[in-house]
């Protein structure tokens, strides 16, 4: 293994929440180590004064001083992890402003996290892996064109997607709901290869991403096995033809949501997660089921409706569905209810994910849920700007996999 990637930790409360060990374990498992920028006591007051926010909690002052060390290039680190206790308002303010400060003053990739005592290393793995990928695979991530004949497999929580690409063009694609990880992937890959008119032995490289990436990577002997934050970003900017400059990528997934800001296609800040399924693609499925319509039709209903006519505002999918039942009981139209469901998800993505990143333009909405016109409209309304939805937007992960794996040829 090459030298460990140094992730600077700026945090408050990790050791007393019994999560420091988990943070370090996650870092170790992806070839990184956690470091604390050194500060002397004399640096602290000066740093707080310069930063301009003077928190009452001394540990937060120390976080600020450590961030200033990074900003001034006095401490050598490759990436930054900023974490504070969930439900601490003072720390939440400092966490977000420090993230902004780091981004304004350095080119280091940053991820923020608010934890509870239940945090496990596995929850951080994708984020830590992405930080490491951004640092360690700079050259690979700079790749803008696919070459040769490659395939990408994206094993998501809801659906599995496959794409076959040749000479920077998509020549085969397929998706299906995820069942058994390997079976689903085999099936979509076969379908995509059939469409492309190629066979497995012809493929020069395969790239896997998503929850099932490790299993698939092993099974298909993939050249690239990489987390979905960096892979999806590359796929999104390739599909939207926005490889250069800045953008924000919004990916509302089946189980979690991602908001990623990119510079030249490489993420420099991202958030992942969602308090509950109430803010994810799963809620769209539940709503469709309750309305007894196919989820693919939900968007068409939603664009015709007005969310203001139906009240639906819940962080929880169970309460969300209760709202939905009540609203239907009041005789509201399917269209209004569908629009309200989309609006509710968009609002929560805004409240939960987009508060942790600075939205850059353009906004590219991707993932299976971006096929839902109602959700795209709702995101546009909430953000005050319609997002770009590129063609094949549900295939970002698979496209990113095919594109990046061609870098190994």
């Amino acid at each position: 293994m090459a030298e460990l990637i140094k992730i600077a930790q700026l945090s408050c409360g990790t050791e007393y929440s019994s999560v420091q060990y988990e943070i370090e374990k996650a870092a170790r498992s992806v070839g990184a180590k956690i470091v604390y920028p050194d500060v002397s006591a004399a640096d602290i007051n000066a740093a707080v004064e310069r930063f301009g926010f003077n928190p009452r909690s001394p540990q937060l002052k120390l976080m600020i001083a450590r961030a200033v060390q990074l900003a001034d290039g006095l401490y050598d680190a490759d990436a930054v992890f900023i974490a504070t206790c969930f439900r601490c308002a003072e720390a939440a303010l400092v966490r977000n402003e420090l993230r902004r400060f780091i981004q304004e003053n350095t080119r280091l990739p940053v991820v923020t996290y608010s934890f509870t005592e239940r945090l496990k290393a596995s929850q951080l793995l994708t984020r830590m892996e992405a930080l490491v990928t951004i640092v360690a695979r700079k050259e690979l991530l700079a790749r803008e064109k696919q070459s040769g004949l490659t395939a990408g497999l994206d094993s998501g929580s809801s659906t599995t997607k496959a794409v076959v690409m040749q000479d920077n063009k998509i020549i085969g694609k397929a998706w299906m709901p995820t069942g058994d990880v390997v079976e689903s992937a085999t099936s979509v890959l076969e379908e995509a290869m059939k469409m492309a008119g190629v066979e497995l032995k012809d493929l020069e490289a395969i790239g896997t991403t998503g929850y099932g990436r490790f299993t698939l990577g092993k099974h298909f002997n993939a050249k690239l096995v990489q987390e979905e934050l960096t892979v999806n970003s590359k796929g999104a900017v390739w599909l939207a033809d926005r490889q250069r400059g800045e953008a924000t990528i919004i990916d509302i997934g089946g189980m979690d949501n991602k908001a990623i800001t990119v510079r030249d296609g490489v993420p420099d800040n991202f958030t992942m997660g969602g308090v509950c399924a109430g803010a994810s693609g799963r809620f769209m499925e539940m709503t469709a089921r309750r309305l007894k319509i196919d989820v693919s039709e939900l968007g068409n209903y939603a664009v015709k409706g007005n969310w203001k006519n139906a009240k639906m505002n819940s962080y929880c999918s169970v309460f969300g569905i209760q709202d939905l039942v009540t609203t239907l009981g009041e005789g509201k139209s399917f269209e209004d209810v569908a629009a309200a469901a989309c609006h509710s998800v968009a609002e929560q993505v805004y409240e939960q994910q987009l508060q942790e990143v600075d939205v850059r333009h353009p906004i590219i909405q991707v993932g299976g849920t971006s096929l839902n016109a109602g959700l795209v409209k709702a995101i546009g309304e909430v953000l005050g700007e319609p997002p770009i939805v590129p063609e094949n937007s549900q295939f970002i992960g698979a496209v990113g996999g095919a594109l990046l794996s061609s870098g190994f040829l």
């Binding site: 470091v35 604390y36 050194d38 002397s40 006591a41 120390l62």
Partner: protein
Amino acid sequence: MSEERETRLLMIAPTSNVTPDQLSRTIHAMGERISVKETCYGCLIEGPRDLVRKVRDAARELDPNGIFSKIRAYPLGDPRRCRAHHGTRPGFSQLEMEWNALTNISAGLDASDRGEKVVEPEPKKQLPVTEFKKICEVNQ
């Protein structure tokens, strides 16, 4: 005698003439069955509790009001605590700041030994609003 491990840091006040090197050598010279590690602010000692306390008292004779001590949770060289491992832990800044304050505490101990009487000054009160108003009016 308690055999339980005690790790203790001895810190020399900025105003003291004792050096960390002098302190460590004095302790070594005692020939006790304890570990000593010189640090930038004094030294760390570790061994069975009663012995560590005996050494602390003896070492303090170099400058009774200029050498301070507290226990440390981690044993010497514990990688969980080690600065070289991944940078300073938060308590380090605290030690630095307390070190600066030892000058005043040292002076306090000296005064106490001399039997100096200390009178507590009246605490400052906030200016009554009526008074403040008058000042504002004068400056108008």
